[in-house]
Every structure is written in structure tokens, then in C-alpha cells.
Amino acid sequence: MERSQDEADAGSPVASNRSVEIAVYACLLGLAALLGFDNWHTGIGWDPTGPRPGYFPFYLSVILGAASLFGLARELIARTQASDTFVTRQQLARVAQVFFPTLAFCLVTQWLGLYVASFLLVAGFMYFVGRIAAWKCLLTAFLFSAAMFVTFEIAFDVLMPKGPLEALFGR
């Protein structure tokens, strides 16, 4: 199984480094324009008592924009060069395996609180990605979340986002 995955990794690139770089530079260019415009509004002049609040950020956005533009131009011109693979299909699938659970974890944290979300994430990830026996996953997840709860909420009075479940216990 290991071998077949390795072979699959070698092929089917999803994106090349070049295309990702172009996308990133374009995003940065957009960000630089946005921030530059906002700072221009704030005031980019130089008062008798020194620069105004928008002065440094404005010129920084100009620098950021220029550097992004340079990168963009270079990548677009360097057409002939073969580009490295940014990510293959297999790799992307594996990254998604950890990214989407993390995204879901953040969403669940917002509605159900951090401890429930943490239980779901640990148990789910161990079971579906790690293929570990269900009872081990549930036990580990429970112990971990409980330990975090005791440490933060009870011992140190650090308050985390909590949801309906904790409210049942009067927390």
C-alpha cells in the first residue's frame, strides 16, 4: 500500500509552484492596493511634527505592491522554465484531511464551545484518519478534553468559549 501511494504521489500534480506563486502575488497586490488606499485616506503627509499615521503603512503598501508586481512579472515572463510541483493530488487530499477537520473544529467551537469541539476533533481524527480502535479514540478524546477543562476552567480560571453542554453543568 505504501508503494502504490508513493507512485501516485509522483504523478498527477494539482498545481505548479508557478501558478500558486502567481496567485499569491496577485492576492498580495490586491491587499497592497486596498491597504494603500485606506492609508491614503488616513493621511500620508509629513506634519511639522513628523509623519502622520498613514505615512509608514502607505509606503509599506507601495513596497509590498512593487515586490509583488516584480514577482508576478518574473513568473509570467519565465514561461519556458519548468516549474516544480506545488502539490500533488494525493498530497492535497492529505492536507484536506487535516484542514477540513480543523475548519469544522473552529465552526463547532463557535456554536458548541471549545471542549465539545475538541472531543469531536480528537475522536474523529483518530478514528477516521488514524484508523485507531473506536474505544481508544473515544477514551483519549474524553480524557484530553476533560483534562483541558479541569486545567483551564477550574484550576486557572481561564475561560474558554463554552456551549450548551457546559451550561447544563452550571458552567
Binding site: L35, G50, P53, L60, I63, Q91, V95, T102, R131
Partner: protein, 499 residues
């Protein structure tokens, strides 16, 4: 030799079983909060402050300062094992510490970190013991121009170091500086780059960004490369510890340089944060083999850790002698002292001799006891790496989220962390370096404020940066470092390499 006498007096106050037991408890708690993300340093000490309310002042401050030492030691652990710096000063430790852990040398890296922390603090404590009054007044010579010169020096020691393409370094640094400016501008009391969005008022917290950039993105990269967090074959024994110690003398220049930088920046109020970066950068700059930094070189752990702890410890000096906290944690300790009716300031050493020297003595004892304790926990922490990746990865994600949230009690920060996780992943893969970005995010705002205050003070005259010997020297040094490659070529120093 009066200092020695007073120090012995201090030891006498401390050497009771009760105080020693409190030290142990304080250290364990400190290491614990240091390891928990988002709690290390100021937060951890603040949380544990109420524990000491029912104690007498001496016991309380011994306990508090041991929590402080513990947190300092503990901060290195997550940086090395999981690439999650808990504090601004542990960021530089991740640069080489984490690669070492990946190469199965976690125990070695941890030992190096703890040992160099110990050396750094020891140098700083010696400085406090013998030079306290004189050194403290040195801190008073720092006005805004001097602060700006120090930050400039830190930035300049960084530029031109990386192997990355120049425009990528520029992107990284300017983006960091820009994001550091989001929120309230303190000099004019105006909001900027917030687009009227209340969540952005507080600005982008440096630690939230770092937890995402390093912690979350590392999980993504690790997963992509289908690597488990590899801790195999890390034989943790006295041999590793002794091995690292045997090598120590070879790095005496680095240790000495970092200690000096740390002490200097520590007593400069607000400078402590820059120390570890500068220690790391200078070690790299003056190394014969700068290319090997960032790939798991032990010197890359020694340099920032020594500097960080020398500064963390000497940051207590201006607090005690002048009542100015040199770091966030020192500020909390200051609050603790006030609760006890002790007012740190020039008269503390006169009014409360027993207390002041008791505290200094506790720095020595706390450090020694702390070193032994953390070294004995190395096997425990290194063994965490043997836990299956599928179990440890989600736990790291949860810890990162807790850390990001705890810093400012904001759900928004958890989302920000996730965003920075993705940004970090993409940047890493296309070769945009993250180090300049973090440095800029930490120091950007302070540097800008210092610059603008200097301008207001001088009426817009740039010559203020050469207006006296101190600021002139630092500014010139910064410029020399910036143009070092050029200068070296001009002066013929680099000729050997050209050939």
C-alpha cells in the same frame, strides 16, 4: 564585597524547608503554564498571582519568581517539539530547535535550550548582584531615538541574511510591518486599516499570528509529507546531556555574545523582546557556515535561548531598581509586589533589604533547582513525540486554538489563527521566508512609535539619531550591519570567498 555579604544574608532568609518547597511548587506550576500554549509568561504569572495572596511577602515573591523561571524554561519545550512558540522570545528557538527535533535530536535540542537558558540567566543574575545601581541608571539614558536605534539594529542584523530571493524577503517583511500597524495608532490616537470593523480595533496580535504561521501550518506540512512527528531513536539519557555540555566550551563566543546582547537589551526597557532575534541573527552573521542555520544547528538553539533568558532576567533589574518593568511578565510581578505593599523603585534596596536580597538569592537558587528539574523532565516531554501522529495532531490543533483564544479572549483570533495557518503553509511552500514576517510583526509598531516620537521631539530633524554618543553608535552600527556584505567586499575581507 558588601554585595556578597548581603547575598549570603539573602540565602539565609531562603534556606528553610518551607521556602524550598514553595520554590519547587512554583517551578512545577511555572513549567506547566509555560508549556500550555497562550499561558506562558505574563498570562501564566497573572493567573497564578492570586495563589500567593495568602502568603507573607517573601514566600510570595519567591513563589512568583519561581513561576517566572519555570515559565521561561517551559516556553522552549513547545517551540522545539511542536514548532509552537509560546512567547515572542521563543520564536527564534524554533528556527533550529524544531528541525533538530525532526531529525530525532529533540533531547539534544531541549538540553541545549535549558542549559543555555541557565547560562543566560546566571550571567544576568551576576550582573544584577554586583552592578545593580550603576546598570539601572544606564536604562535611563534611553529615550525614543535610542529605542528606535535599537530596533533598527535588530532589523538590520536580519536583512540580507537569508538564502531566499530578495523580493520574497521584502514581501515578507513589509507585510509583517503593515499588519503590525493595523488598529489604533497610539501616537495620533487614530484608527487605521480597520475598515470600521470592530474585531480589527485591537490589532493583529503577534502571538495569534505566530501560532497559526508555525503551529497550524506545520501540521499541514507534516500531513502533506506524510511524516509522523518523528521522535524515534532519541535515546534520552545522561549521555545526551553530558554530550551537549561537553560541546559547550566550543560555543563560548556565541554564549558570551548572546549573554551580553541579552543583558543589554533586558535592561533597556522594552528591548527584551528583540534580544532572542538579535542573538540568533548575529550568531548566524558571524558564523563560518551561515547556510547551516535553520537546518538543525545546535548553535541556533544556544544563541537565541541564552539571549532570551539573559534579557528575561535582567528585565527584572529596571523593575526593581527603577520601578519600570522591562517586559510584560516583569509588569505582572511589579503588580504582585505592589499588592504586598512593596514599591519597587530606587528605594527598594534601602527600605526592604531583606526582601530585595532574598529575591536575588532566590534567582540563583530558583535557576539551579529549575535546571535540574527541567532536565529531568526531558525524557517525559521527548516521549510525547512517540504518540501516534493521528492522536497528537488534533491535540496540537486544540492547544493552538486555546492559546490563540486565551491571549485576548476573542473567538475572532481562532479564525485569524486558521487563516495564518494557511498563509504559513503556502508561504513555506513557495519559499517566502516567515522569519522576517514575525520579526516585523513583533517590532514593527514599537519601531514606528519610537521613530515618530523622536521626530516629534526633535521637530522633524533626522540628525536626532546622531545627537549623542550612545544613539549615534547604535545607529551607525545598524547601518554598518546593513551594508556589511558591501563593506566587506570593499575592504577586501570577502576576497577569500570570491576566489
Amino acid at each position: 564585597m558588601e554585595a556578597l555579604e548581603l547575598l549570603f544574608f539573602g540565602f539565609k532568609v531562603l534556606l528553610t524547608w518551607k521556602i524550598l518547597a514553595l520554590m519547587m511548587v512554583g517551578l512545577v506550576l511555572g513549567i506547566f503554564v509555560g508549556v500550555l500554549p497562550g499561558l506562558g509568561g505574563p498570562n501564566g504569572v497573572a493567573i497564578l498571582l492570586p495563589l500567593t495572596f495568602t502568603m507573607d511577602p517573601t514566600s510570595a515573591i519567591v513563589m512568583l519568581s519561581c513561576i517566572y523561571w519555570g515559565a521561561l524554561f517551559g516556553g522552549a519545550i513547545t517551540s522545539i517539539l511542536f514548532n509552537i512558540p509560546g512567547e515572542a522570545w521563543s520564536v527564534a528557538t524554533t528556527f533550529d530547535g524544531y528541525p533538530m527535533a525532526q531529525q530525532g535530536r529533540a533531547a539534544e535540542a531541549l538540553t541545549a535550550a535549558f542549559t543555555s537558558s541557565f547560562i543566560g540567566s546566571l550571567v544576568a543574575v551576576l550582573l544584577i548582584t554586583f552592578l545593580a545601581p550603576g546598570i539601572a541608571s544606564f536604562a535611563l539614558r534611553f529615550g525614543s531615538p535610542e529605542f528606535f536605534a535599537v530596533y533598527l539594529l535588530t532589523f538590520c542584523s536580519f536583512v540580507g541574511l537569508g538564502r531566499e530571493e530578495k523580493h520574497k524577503t521584502v514581501i515578507s517583511m513589509s507585510l509583517g510591518l503593515l499588519l503590525a500597524g493595523v488598529g489604533m495608532d497610539t501616537v495620533s490616537s487614530q484608527l487605521r486599516m480597520t475598515f470600521g470593523w470592530a474585531e480589527l480595533y485591537r490589532g493583529i496580535n503577534f502571538l495569534v499570528a505566530v501560532i497559526g504561521l508555525f503551529g497550524i501550518s506545520e501540521i499541514l506540512v507534516t500531513m502533506e509529507e506524510r511524516l509522523a512527528l518523528r521522535g524515534h531513536a532519541a535515546s534520552i539519557s545522561l549521555r545526551v546531556v553530558l554530550g551537549v555540555w561537553k560541546d559547550l566550551p566550543r560555543y563560548w563566543v556565541t554564549l558570551l555574545r548572546s549573554s551580553a546582547i541579552g543583558c543589554w537589551l533586558g535592561i533597556t526597557p522594552g528591548g527584551a523582546i528583540a534580544a532572542s532575534f538579535m542573538g540568533y541573527n548575529l550568531a548566524k552573521r558571524f558564523s563560518k557556515d551561515p547556510e547551516s542555520f535553520g537546518k538543525g544547528r545546535i548553535e541556533g538553539v544556544f544563541a537565541p535561548e541564552t539571549a532570551a533568558h539573559a534579557s528575561g532576567t535582567s528585565a527584572l533589574l529596571p523593575m526593581l531598581a527603577l520601578g519600570i518593568p522591562g517586559s510584560g511578565t516583569a509588569a505582572i510581578l511589579l503588580g504582585g509586589l505592589m499588592v504586598w505593599g512593596l514599591n519597587p523603585g530606587p528605594l527598594l534596596f534601602v527600605d526592604h533589604k531583606d526582601f530585595a536580597w532574598g529575591l536575588i538569592a532566590s534567582m540563583y537558587l530558583g535557576n539551579v533547582v529549575g535546571l535540574v528539574m527541567v532536565l529531568s523532565t526531558v525524557p517525559l516531554f521527548a516521549s510525547v513525540l512517540r504518540v501516534p501522529f493521528a492522536a497528537i495532531a488534533p491535540m496540537i490543533v486544540v492547544s493552538c486554538a486555546i492559546g490563540a483564544f486565551a491571549i485576548q479572549n476573542a473567538m475572532f483570533d481562532i479564525w485569524l489563527m486558521l487563516l495564518f495557518g494557511v498563509v504559513g503553509y503556502v508561504f513555506k511552500k513557495i519559499g517566502i521566508p516567515l522569519a522576517p514576517f514575525t520579526l516585523a510583526l513583533v517590532l514593527g509598531n514599537r519601531a514606528e512609535d519610537a521613530f515618530r516620537l523622536s521626530m516629534i521631539g526633535s521637530g522633524g530633524d533626522l540628525r536626532v539619531f546622531w545627537s549623542n554618543g550612545l544613539v549615534g553608535t547604535i545607529t551607525t552600527l545598524a547601518l554598518v550591519l546593513l551594508f556589511w556584505p558591501l563593506l566587506a567586499r570593499l575592504l577586501g575581507i570577502g576576497r577569500r570567498r570570491d576566489r
